[in-house]
Subunit: 349 residues, 2 copies
């Protein structure tokens, strides 16, 4: 067995010396960063306002080391924070990283996490502008990311602006992350990466490929965050990042806007269930995941009729319409009825 | 024994319903907040740039429940983040809170933490604009705070601007927090609050009062963050928040600026050691804490001669001068020699 260096064997400054260059090398670094990492705080250029959000991941709760690498966790942290910025209609401009880790945490893992964050940050075009390191109790690793965004003069797209007559559309997948988690929980899929081809994969059938694909979506999602500013620019009336599932998050738009989101069951089944998700987990479980699977980080938005963006690089799928709330009050319906599934709750599970 | 409600017994939305109103009631809320908590992200008004920083506290590492209440932890989190903003010369404009806590965490403790954060935020005049809740493994509570600040048109005050001929000054205490921690570690002082007078306290002598005072400074510091923007306005050449001790953080200014910070031992002893700190922990331990005690969050700055602010509400004490770096390179000296003490390191201890 190889003895790995732990972060407790390094001084804080030695550990920072390993981490900071990874972020400094990012292509996004410097653009709009008036004061870079290394002082008491960073300073970002802004255009009259700044979008701010934070989202954390906890080892053993939000990821398992046997399913996700540090690189996966880093990519996912960036994805979920950038998706929140995008859901306001903003482009990401910077990230802060707060890592609390037990001294026995392997340095290799932290470097892998750092690489994943840096790769995600570069993909999103936003630099890591600072952070914080804390020592944590044995076994504990928690990473909190704060993301900043620039609306570039656009009004922020809130959850409360959906109006009867608008259409409902989604950019990105539905149920893929949840289906991947379901497979991992059932022990029916390993964490192999479908992007890294292998002889074994070549021999596998479509079901196996589907399973690999959805587990990859769970481990390191890459939501179409570019669709957020595009939607804002064309006048999206409301928008939300799908972190807790279509039913729960769509219900939040309905509640905030005082309307009913009437979704089309046929379109949802044909677009998001048929094929990969049904192959991977079957029709019943797949449908449950399309409706309620969490951590997808796709964007759900409403648009005035005819305003849905026609963007081949981040396509929107129309899945329903906004109607007046009836006697049952603001709600989300699928095929005319409220789905019996709900969504993810961090404490009650 | 009373059975306390744990946060695991509540849904995430129920828990948020207990927490959010506390922040919404803060007097700072609304000022400059274009989009308040409740959407994917908050939006803050800015003046062309935004100062951003993050700092975390970990239960068992950064506080002990038998010494610090949730309210103490909340106040301290705000203090250390706002001090970082102030050390850039900015006024605080908003906070984000990321709480990762085990489901068995008592709701009372979380409410107490929330009250402490809200009290600190109100004192600092900046609203809590959002946050994140995560479930954590048994026994774990970690709170990561991100703070935002506005330079109000001033240039940021960096660590790198100290020039030979400048004077070195500090706003706030030196060694009080460290002396308080030393007493708590030695088991020689309880967590009683010197602000809450009692008959017992009235009977205590000056040593006991000193001990209570320094433990209070450790538990819930209130650094003079207002001094930061004032220093920036009068042309401070460099500034830093003293979180890791005078020697270590002053050394950071010396290194970043390529100069020597030559501190006056007599002034340091007379101003910061004599009296409370010496009474509380004795001359030798007190001197060690003045030089190297962490978590003080006072501001250390350099000013052109004659520019030190004369502000009775947040007074600056001149403690030395900036001189050309000699053969030994950039460094901090006290009475002409490099102190043998260093400062706090989060991982190596």
């Amino acid at each position: 067995m190889v003895a790995h260096t732990t972060i407790g064997e390094l001084s804080e400054s030695d550990l920072l010396a390993r981490i900071l260059p990874v972020f400094a090398a990012g292509k996004g670094a410097g653009r709009g960063v008036l004061v870079p990492p290394g002082d008491d705080a960073a300073v970002l250029a802004t255009g009259g306002s700044v979008v701010v959000t934070t989202d954390s991941m906890v080892r053993g709760m939000d990821w398992r080391d046997d399913w996700s690498s540090g690189h996966d966790v880093g990519l996912k942290l960036v994805a979920q924070n950038v998706a929140d910025v995008a859901a306001m209609g903003a482009v990401p401009t910077g990230l802060l990283i707060a890592l609390a880790a037990a001294p026995a945490t392997s340095l290799d893992w932290v470097v892998d996490l750092t690489d994943g964050i840096a790769a995600g940050a570069e993909d999103a075009g936003c630099p890591v502008v600072g952070g914080d390191l804390s020592s944590a109790p044995e076994g504990v690793v928690i990473v909190a990311v704060t993301a900043f965004g620039d609306l570039e003069g656009r009004a922020p797209v809130l959850r409360s602006g959906a109006r009867p007559g608008d259409v409902v559309a989604v950019a990105g997948s539905l149920g893929w992350s949840g289906a991947g988690l379901a497979l991992l929980l059932a022990g029916e899929a390993g964490p192999s990466d479908p992007r890294a081809g292998s002889e074994r994969k070549a021999r596998e059938g479509s079901v196996e490929r589907a399973r690999s694909l959805v587990t990859w979506f769970h481990r390191s999602p890459r939501p179409p965050w570019e669709a957020g500013p595009v939607a804002a620019a064309v006048g999206a009336s409301s928008m939300i990042d799908l972190s807790d599932g279509l039913v729960r998050d769509g219900g939040r738009i309905a509640a905030a806007s005082g309307v009913e989101l009437a979704l089309d069951e046929r379109v949802l089944r044909e677009t998001f269930l048929a094929g990969v998700v049904a192959d991977a987990v079957g029709e019943d479980e797949g449908w449950r995941q399309v409706l309620s699977g969490g951590e997808e980080h796709s964007l759900l938005a409403t648009f005035p009729p005819g305003a849905v963006p026609d963007d081949p690089s981040a396509p929107w799928t129309v899945i329903g319409e906004v109607v007046e709330a009836g006697a049952a009050g603001p709600r989300l319906t699928v095929g005319g009825a409220e789905p019996s599934v709900t969504g993810w709750d961090h404490f009650a599970g």
